[in-house]
C-alpha cells in the first residue's frame, strides 16, 4: 500500500433543493508516473490513483479515469445539484489494488 495516502473531501452540510453545490476532493498520493528511474538506473514502477468516482444514493455522479500524467495529490472540483437528502460516496482506486472510500451526508431542505 502506498504510504501517506489520505483522502479529503469538502461538501456543504446543507443545501436547498435545486441549488448547485460545489464539491472539492483531494487525495494525498505520490502519483509515481513509472517514467522515473532511481539512483541505480532502475525504473520506479508506476503507482498512481487510476480512477476516482463519486456516487450519490447509489447513482453515479462522476467517474474519472486517470493516467500517469496527473499531478501529485490529485484534486477534483465539480458542481452537483442534489434533489434530496442523502449520502455522497467517494472512491479512489489505487494501482496497487487499494481502494480508499469516504462518505459525506448532505441534508436538502
Amino acid at each position: 500500500m502506498a504510504k501517506g495516502v489520505k483522502p479529503r473531501i469538502k461538501v456543504p452540510k446543507q443545501a436547498s433543493a435545486g441549488e448547485a453545490i460545489t464539491i472539492k476532493t483531494l487525495i494525498s498520493h505520490k502519483m509515481e508516473t513509472g517514467l522515473r528511474k532511481d539512483a541505480d538506473g532502475n525504473k520506479i514502477p508506476q503507482s498512481i490513483i487510476n480512477r476516482f468516482t463519486c456516487d450519490f444514493n447509489g447513482s453515479n455522479v462522476v467517474d474519472f479515469d486517470m493516467k500517469a500524467g496527473i499531478s501529485v495529490n490529485p484534486y477534483f472540483q465539480f458542481e452537483a445539484v442534489v434533489p434530496e437528502s442523502g449520502e455522497f460516496k467517494f472512491t479512489w482506486y489505487d494501482d496497487d489494488g487499494s481502494v480508499y472510500e469516504k462518505t459525506k451526508k448532505i441534508t436538502v431542505s
Binding site: 448547485a20 484534486y75 472540483q77 465539480f78 458542481e79 452537483a80
Partner: protein
C-alpha cells in the same frame, strides 16, 4: 419521470482556469477561512527606504492568491496534516511524542510572530527549528530533524499555523541587537557573480518583473511557504539559499549564523504584517 429523479450534474473542470489575467491583483484583500489577514501596513520605524510593507501575497496573480484563501485548496495544508501526524508520533528513547508534553499544537499560538528570538539558556538566537530539535533531543531522546526537509518544515508549518492572522512582532534590540545588525549588513551586502544584495531586488525593485514574475519585498511572514514551482513547503533558510544561488553566490550554511541573522533582520522588516503560515507562492 425516472429521468427527473436522476441527479443533474454540471461539471466545471477547473483544469482550464482562466489564464488571461496574469497581472498581480494588488488591491485584493486576503481573507483566509473568514479571517482577515493584514497584507499591507506601515513599515516598521527601523526601515529607512520603504514606507509601506507588503506581503508577498499581494504580488501574486489572483489564481495563486485564491489558493491561499481556502484551506482546502491550500496545498500547504497537506503538509500541515503530515505535521500533525508527526506531532503525534511517539519517537526516541523516552517514548514520547510532541503531543505527550504539549497536547495540541495550539499551545504555541503566537510563537510564530516572535521568531526568531533569543534563547537565554542556550545563549543564542533560535529559530523555530531549534525549538523542535531541542525538544526532540532533550525531551524525547530522538534524532534531530534535518533543516529544510519535509518532516521539519511540516512541523514548523503546523506550529506557525497556530499564529495565523496575528501580527508579526520580532524583537530586535537587547540580546539580539548584534545579530540583527549583522543581518542588516548581510541584507545590504553585494555578493556573488551578479554582485547583488538582497536589497537590490527586494527593496529597490519590488513590483518589477524578474523574468515572468513579480519581485516581492522578500517578506517571510508566510513561511514555511508552499511553492507551486516545487510543490512542497519551503523553509526560510532554503529560500535564502535559493536566492543566493540565483545571484550566483555561494550560499551560506542552512542553520548557520549568517542565515540566522538574516532571518531575524528580514523577519523584523515584516513587523506589523500578519503571520500567514502556510502561504502559497509561485
Amino acid at each position: 419521470m425516472n429521468f427527473a429523479k436522476k441527479i443533474f450534474i454540471i461539471l466545471l473542470m477547473i483544469f482550464g482556469l482562466n489564464l488571461s489575467c496574469a497581472v498581480a491583483d494588488e488591491s485584493a484583500e486576503l481573507v483566509v477561512e473568514g479571517q482577515p489577514i493584514l497584507t499591507r501596513t506601515k513599515a516598521p520605524s527601523h526601515m529607512e527606504n520603504i514606507d509601506e510593507v507588503r506581503s508577498g501575497w499581494t504580488f501574486r496573480i489572483k489564481e495563486t492568491q485564491a489558493l491561499q484563501m481556502d484551506d482546502f485548496e491550500n496545498p500547504g495544508m497537506i503538509f500541515v496534516d503530515k505535521g500533525i501526524d508527526l506531532w503525534n508520533k511517539v519517537e526516541g528513547s523516552k517514548n514520547k511524542s510532541c503531543a505527550s508534553c504539549h497536547g495540541d499544537a495550539s499551545e504555541f499560538k503566537g510563537l510564530r510572530t516572535v521568531m526568531p528570538k533569543w534563547n537565554a539558556s542556550a545563549g543564542a538566537l533560535w529559530s523555530m527549528e531549534d525549538h523542535v530539535n531541542n525538544c526532540r533531543t532533550e525531551q524525547m531522546g530522538a534524532e534531530p530533524l534535518k533543516w529544510g526537509k519535509a518532516p521539519m518544515d511540516s512541523i514548523v508549518a503546523l506550529i506557525g499555523l497556530q499564529s495565523r492572522g496575528m501580527t508579526m512582532n520580532v524583537k530586535i534590540d537587547g540580546d539580539v541587537q548584534t545579530m540583527w545588525e549583522f543581518g542588516k549588513e548581510l541584507f545590504y551586502t553585494r555578493v556573488g557573480q551578479l554582485d547583488m544584495s538582497c536589497a537590490n531586488c527586494h527593496e529597490d525593485n519590488y513590483g518589477v518583473m524578474i523574468r515572468a514574475d513579480h519581485l516581492s519585498q522578500g517578506q517571510i511572514n508566510g513561511f514555511p511557504t508552499y511553492r507551486l514551482k516545487n510543490a512542497k513547503l519551503n523553509s526560510i533558510h532554503a529560500r535564502f539559499k535559493g536566492c543566493m544561488k540565483n545571484i550566483r553566490a555561494t550560499p551560506y550554511k542552512v542553520g548557520g549564523d549568517e542565515f540566522r541573522a538574516l532571518e531575524l533582520y528580514v523577519a523584523s522588516r515584516g513587523n506589523g504584517l500578519s503571520a500567514e503560515t502556510p502561504s502559497v507562492r509561485n
